[in-house]
């Protein structure tokens, strides 16, 4: 197709007409309209800006980011980085950001797993399973997320106190103080083992690529799982053992009116994570279902005719094609989950919105506080879309 010569009559662009200063000239009209619209928008913004400057003067609010280095004095219940109320506002906001990222990342992973599972179950040949999942999706999607969060939070608060805590397994306590899980004392040896495990995962991926390339060359399938086991589990264990295999279990126990030790999941975080996961999983379920159904029936039949078992048909033939339909709407669900995590402020989980809101109430720096929230979410949204666009381009159909 490409070597067809272009007809020389069409090769040259039509001559550009000179711009006429007349209403009947389309280009002239376009310029006039654009100038008008821009002028109106600029006037509105200038008006709002001048009002704001005037109001700030009247209220004696100094604008600027100087407040960030002042002492925050606001207590934060849970944080991933060291923090106490004598730290600066900047650090408090950083704690809020890490809390937002924590709930968003864990939520995205759990919602994807649960949503995909539900999406596959929705297509189950078992009528009862399919209808139950359908009912779940309908209920979850037709109730406001905020209501669901308040509901889960109320449920958690309605649980018995620490003394009568629900104790489904040794060291696991569910009470109105949240969820307590057994953990162990984290030592440098564990960090090393974790590092080796991450390196092992990367190495396994590289090995898998090489194995696939060789299979393409000689047609012999090679097993990946022994290498994966060796690199991801064996090597970290060896590293851990050479450091003396330290392991001190830290099991929560009841002392007085509260628990000591163990890993704590606060009721706020637990309610937020549960609500976000269950809500988003409902949407992801429908996306996965639609994606699988979008794969033509003939693909199932052809793969079956080649003798592939049902699991392999799903994994090797149907899912790669369904992913192309699934990824774009899935991206917007991830973005929604991240933005919805801002509802944390309603149940008292201290995410970036909650902390920025407290900050602007304490300092009166309304514009800066809201700008901080917006910048954080815009950058998170942008990074998720960039990553998902890259992934989408990678799995896109390669047309010859």
């Amino acid at each position: 197709m490409s070597d067809t010569a272009i007809d020389p009559r069409y090769a040259a662009k039509p001559p550009k007409r000179p711009l006429r200063l007349s209403w009947s000239d389309e280009r002239f009209r376009g310029i006039v309209w654009q100038v008008l619209v821009l002028a109106v928008v600029a006037t509105i913004f200038w008006w709002l800006w001048s009002n704001t400057v005037h109001n700030l003067e009247v209220r004696r609010i100094a604008s600027g980011w100087g407040f960030l280095s002042r002492e925050a004095g606001l207590p934060i219940a849970e944080s991933l980085i060291p923090y106490d109320p004598t730290n600066t506002y900047l650090r408090a906001l950083a704690v809020g950001l890490t809390n937002t990222l924590k709930v968003a990342i864990i939520g995205i992973i759990l919602a994807t797993l649960l949503g995909t599972l539900l999406g596959v179950l929705r297509l189950s040949p078992n009528w009862l399973v399919s209808k139950l999942v359908g009912g779940y999706v309908e209920v979850v999607r037709d109730l406001p997320l905020l209501l669901q969060l308040l509901f889960w939070y109320a449920m958690l608060q309605g649980l018995p106190g620490p003394r009568q805590a629900i104790n489904p397994a040794t060291g696991v306590f569910l009470s109105n103080r949240g969820l307590k899980l057994p953990w162990f004392e984290w030592l440098p040896a564990h960090s090393w083992a974790l590092l080796v495990c991450v390196i092992g995962i990367v190495a396994t991926l590289i090995w898998r690529r090489a194995a696939l390339a060789r299979q393409m060359a000689d047609g012999q399938p090679r097993k990946v799982w022994p290498v994966a086991l060796l690199l991801c589990v064996g090597a970290p264990l060896v590293v851990w053992a050479t450091q003396g295999a330290p392991f001190t279990p830290d099991i929560p126990f009841l002392r007085g009116f509260n628990f000591q030790g163990g890993l704590t999941v606060s009721p706020e975080f637990f309610a937020l994570l549960t609500g976000l996961t269950l809500y988003t999983a409902g949407f992801i379920c429908e996306i996965v279902r639609a994606g699988i159904q979008a794969v033509h029936q003939g693909q199932w039949e052809a793969a079956g005719a080649l003798g592939l078992p049902r699991g392999q048909v799903m994994r090797l033939v149907v899912l790669p094609q369904a992913l192309r339909v699934i990824i774009p709407p899935m991206t917007s669900q991830f973005l929604n989950l991240t933005k919805n995590s801002s509802l944390a402020v309603a149940i008292g989980y201290q995410d970036i919105v909650s902390i920025a809101n407290t900050t602007l109430n304490q300092t009166g720096q309304a514009i800066e506080g809201i700008a901080a929230i917006m910048v954080v979410y815009l950058s998170i949204s942008l990074s998720i879309s960039l990553f998902m666009n890259w992934y989408n381009a990678r799995i896109a159909l390669v047309e010859r």
Partner: protein, 377 residues
């Protein structure tokens, strides 16, 4: 050349997979095919029956519907506290349902917000019927919304004046959702057209607006409405909180609806645009008579889905303290004697939201099937 005659054999009815072999056959095919599947079915059926029974126990058999007043005239909820976890305390709903539905609106005037809710629902039903999809519908909307404003505010026709601060409950939710969409929709169409425009400045403006709004959560816009809008306006000019939140919701909904409308504009075949231009129509004639009627028709189902999203999202005004249905529900259980009965209240309010959203979602699904009828083989 030989002529072959061919007599077609009579067409057989298609095999019915659903009811082959009667109800028992259906159960065998869909519930009990194979050992593994049968086990799952039985397990699920057992759990379903068990939880249904305990739910019925909690919600109906063991529930308390009314509580007596103590000697201070306050509700005595000790009987409810005794059965906590075993039975529901629907007495909180019996006691507080007027407050949850209508907030702090004067008690003897509650018939006014009640009529407003009925008017809203009637407006939705009329707008949903395809035979009313005519230009006159805009007039119906204008008249109904004016009547709603008159009823809520009062001050004329012998109705007493009720300031906006006292409105609350379901009418606020419906007002935020309906007015929000009524204003966001035209805005969305303009922005969607602007984003497809050939004029670079207008296009850039629309792209920035849509991407900026879609990149941030609604809460940040609502905070902006509650703390930043007062700074934007000249001194002395005060817009009440509800209107500010309404503006934020309109701006938010506008960006999302614009993307839906844009999808419709993009999916129209190019020939439609070219044919309209070939007829010598101006830009607005082309858009109004040829493009929009077709493009909007294509995106009605996703539009309704977006409407459902906004109906749910109006509940976020709780965070800036506007008295909508959810805020009223949360406030109803602040009194000490009613604390701890949140689950009952949330279930009730959830039911109201669910009815609205479920109706819209079923309507959207039905409409999609109807509009796609010509594509089915």
């Amino acid at each position: 050349m030989s002529v072959t005659t061919h007599t077609p054999s009579p067409a057989l009815p298609p095999p019915s997979r659903l009811m082959a072999g009667g109800p028992l056959g259906w159960v065998k095919a869909n519930l009990l095919n194979g050992v593994f599947n049968s086990m799952i079915t039985l397990l699920l059926a057992y759990l379903l029956v068990r939880y249904t029974i305990s739910f019925v126990d909690w919600a109906f058999l063991n529930a308390i519907w009314q509580v007596p007043n103590d000697r201070f005239g306050r509700a005595d909820t000790s009987s409810c506290r005794d059965i906590k976890g075993i039975g529901a305390c629907w007495a909180v709903i019996t006691e507080k349902h007027r407050f949850i539905l209508f907030g702090t609106y004067p008690y003897e005037e509650h018939w006014r917000p009640a009529i407003v809710c009925v008017l809203f629902i009637a407006l939705y039903i009329v707008s949903a019927m395809r035979r009313f999809w005519r230009k006159e519908l805009v007039l119906v909307w204008a008249v109904t919304l004016t009547a709603i404003g008159l009823l809520m505010w009062g001050g004329v026709f012998g109705l007493s004046y009720v300031p906006q601060e006292r409105w609350g409950g379901l009418p606020i939710t419906l007002i935020l959702a309906t007015f929000g969409l009524a204003f966001a929709f035209p805005l969305a169409i303009m922005v969607a057209l602007g984003r497809r425009s050939r004029l670079p400045a207008i296009k850039a403006l629309c792209v920035v607006y849509v991407e900026l709004i879609r990149g941030v959560p609604l809460i940040s816009l609502l905070f902006m409405a509650s703390v930043m809008f007062p700074l934007f306006l000249p001194e002395g000019l005060n817009i009440d909180k509800l209107l500010r939140a309404q503006v934020a919701i309109i701006l938010f909904a506008g960006a999302y609806l614009a993307e839906v409308v844009r999808a419709g504009l993009q999916s129209l075949p190019k020939g439609q645009y070219e044919a309209a231009e070939a007829l010598g129509l101006s830009y607005w004639q082309k858009t109004g008579f040829i493009i929009l009627p077709q493009a909007l028709r294509l995106v009605i189902p996703p539009l309704v889905n977006t409407f459902i999203g906004f109906f749910k999202d109006t509940s976020l005004v709780l965070i800036i303290g506007i008295f909508d249905l959810l805020t009223a529900a949360k406030t109803a259980i602040i009194e000490p004697q009613w604390q701890g009965f949140a689950v009952e209240v949330y279930v009730t309010v959830g039911l109201i939201y669910f009815i609205f959203c479920f109706a819209m979602s079923k309507y959207s699904a039905g409409l999609e099937a109807e509009l796609n009828k010509h594509r089915k083989r």
